[in-house]
């Protein structure tokens, strides 16, 4: 049962991150298209577009790894650990960003995102599969 939930979680999150990554990557080209409107809700400059593309590529890799974990969860249980760590780091900087106050225009979005990420991290901590020992993967 827990393996099924873990696989569903990995698959859904993997697809989501893959889509988000591709979207961020595409925004780099959107920014450099002459006459294109500024991105919403945060208009970016050349530096922002560069780092959006960089983050997009990293998210594609992360999403791909999670999709791999959804296919063969016991082949690489460490994916659950590193995903939980990354989610906690994501939540942590969102909490700090909220405190700093520069992102007040985003309302409660940062806090809601942080809460969702922490709950997902908790799920990854407790649903982490046991590695297969002595069996072909």
């Amino acid at each position: 049962m827990s393996t099924t939930i873990y696989r569903t979680l990995c698959g859904a999150l993997g697809l989501g991150l893959l889509g988000l990554g591709l979207g961020l990557f595409a925004m780099f080209f959107q920014y450099h298209t002459p006459g294109s409107p500024p991105a919403e809700p945060i208009p970016v400059g050349p530096g922002g577009a560069y780092y959006q593309a960089l983050a997009g590529c990293a998210l594609v890799a992360w999403g791909g790894v999670l999709l791999g974990a959804a296919r063969k969860p016991q082949a690489a249980p460490w994916i659950a650990s590193v995903t939980a760590c990354a989610l906690v780091l994501n939540a942590f900087y969102r909490i700090l960003a909220w405190l700093i106050g520069d992102y007040a225009f985003l309302g409660n979005l940062l806090r809601v995102e942080a809460a969702i990420m922490l709950l997902l991290a908790l799920a990854f901590v407790w649903l982490k599969p046991r590695p297969l020992v002595g069996q072909p993967l």
Binding site: P46, G47, F92, I95, G101, R111, A114, A115, L118
Partner: protein
């Protein structure tokens, strides 16, 4: 198992922090409401002289608006950080 519980403890602490952070931002810039309230007290109306401003120019030298009296002055405000 110990690491699992330790991770849970850290996540739960962050979750509590996230849920119970005051609903207003605590940054040095304060909330938008604060800024609007302060701006309404210090706003300069059209036709009124500007209050004396002491600023630093791009080279870090002090610049007093009073020293520019009699000249046409264009003041612009923009973010200094490019996203």
């Amino acid at each position: 198992m110990l690491i699992r519980w330790l991770a849970t403890l850290i996540i739960a602490a962050l979750l509590l922090l996230d849920l119970f952070i005051p609903s207003t931002s605590l940054g040095r810039r304060g909330t938008e409401q604060d800024t609007r309230r302060e701006a309404s007290q210090s706003v300069v109306r059209l036709g009124e002289p500007l209050p004396d401003l002491a600023l630093l120019d791009l080279e870090g030298r002090p610049l007093d608006l009073d020293a520019l009296r009699g000249h046409r002055v264009l003041l612009t405000f923009e973010r200094s950080v490019d996203w």
